[in-house]
């Protein structure tokens, strides 16, 4: 049977013992939370990029011109 649960690889670096096991409910919850946070961060970055684009369009300048204007690299 193929497992659908996330797999956690754990290595005891002192003994060299290596095990792979299904993520437990707590770990699955954390994985989902991390994914949600990452998606939120990505959405925020996308929104900021759109906002920046809109401002540039409003000013009728390019990103390069904006960088020159603001003295950035």
């Amino acid at each position: 049977m193929t497992t659908t649960k996330p797999q956690i690889k754990i290595v005891n670096t002192t003994t060299g013992e290596e095990i792979v096991r299904d993520a437990n409910p707590e770990e699955i919850a954390q994985i989902e939370l991390d994914a949600t946070n990452a998606a939120a961060k990505q959405a925020e970055a996308t929104a900021k990029a759109a906002q920046r684009r809109a401002i540039l369009d409003h000013l009728k300048i390019t990103e390069e011109e904006a960088r020159i204007l603001l003295g950035g690299n």
Binding site: P6, Q7, I8, K9, I10, V11, N12, T13, T14, T15, G16, E18, V20, A23, E27, Q30, I31, D34, A35, N37, A38, A39, K41, Q42
Partner: protein
């Protein structure tokens, strides 16, 4: 040539042979083979043309370096001296000086032997001018990096390196060929599997003069990485990870394959901070979302 055994009076054998000019009575110095005439008085044998001479009747030998013939040589005579030079017992090495297993003899000054006992297991012998014998046993300095473990990801939701030995000064992790299952996935790190808001990171260019708070629940090591090309590389440094009195810092440098244009790259120089004081015994790697499809995680300890 010195001969003899430990515990038995040793001797030094000398064969001195010369064809002196006619009329010679005093024999000394170098022979025809550049061997010096040295003997212990009473232990020499003097031959003239193969005939053993009589001590006191045919020659005198009292100095240890000169032999005086009663009858002077004539041209063509061959004088040979077989000398046994005794080495004083006080100058010999005694087996009694080896008082225990591993005992070494070493001079405490010129012609002055001293004894150095064996050191502790694993120690090495080093020069030490302040010590009587000029030597001492010392713990070898072991610099360099020791590979502690190598772990390959394979559709892994997380790579947890646990029970990290607490015997190093710092840790390095090399992460080779790591790629996410989800395009744009970012490799992240937690310490001691701590999922709290204990982290914050600054990356190159994000200079700030305002106080920062700990708001992150992990440290971002990579920028978003392509999920098909795995030529990226990240290294991570975690100094003084065993101390249990300070917050911890990490530095990492990553180059990743751009998720949109795989011939382009993204890089990240990251300074991570962690607001717990416990020693670090676990490193927990995971992607911002989805699995780590592949990648090798090489953990090194540095002394």
């Amino acid at each position: 040539m010195a001969t003899g055994r430990i515990g038995v009076t040793p001797t030094l054998g000398v064969r001195w042979s010369k064809a002196p000019t006619g009329g010679t009575t005093a024999l000394s110095g170098l022979d025809d083979s550049s061997v010096s005439l040295v003997y212990s008085v009473g232990y020499e044998q003097v031959y003239r043309n193969g005939v053993l001479l009589s001590r006191g009747n045919d020659y005198t030998a009292t100095t240890g370096t000169t032999i005086t013939l009663i009858d002077a040589t004539i041209t063509g005579d061959i004088i040979e001296v077989f000398a046994q030079q005794l080495v004083p017992l006080a100058d010999a090495i005694s087996k009694g000086q080896f008082t225990a297993k591993g005992t070494l003899l070493s001079a405490t000054a010129a012609s002055t032997p001293g004894v150095l006992g064996v050191g502790a297991n694993g120690t090495v012998l080093t020069a030490a001018s302040g010590q009587a014998t000029g030597l001492e046993w010392a713990t070898p300095s072991s610099g360099g990096m020791t590979l502690i473990s190598t772990t390959s990801a394979s559709a892994s939701a997380a790579i947890n390196l646990t029970s990290i030995p607490q015997t190093y000064n710092e840790l390095y992790v090399y992460i080779r060929n790591c790629k996410p299952a989800n395009d744009g996935g970012e490799l992240r790190l937690r310490l001691n599997n701590d999922t709290g808001t204990s982290y914050q990171h600054l990356y190159w260019g994000n200079e700030t003069s305002t106080a920062q708070t700990f708001t992150g629940t992990s440290l971002q090591l990579m920028e978003g990485n392509d999920n098909s090309v795995a030529t990226g590389f990240t290294w991570l440094r975690l100094p003084d990870y065993t101390n249990a009195t300070t917050w911890k810092t990490t530095t990492s440098v990553a180059v990743t394959v751009d998720a949109t244009t795989t011939t382009s790259f993204r890089s990240r120089f990251n300074v991570g901070v962690y607001n717990q004081i416990t020693a670090i015994s676990q490193l927990n790697f995971f992607m911002s979302s989805g699995n780590i499809t592949s990648g090798d995680f090489l953990l090194y300890g540095v002394k």
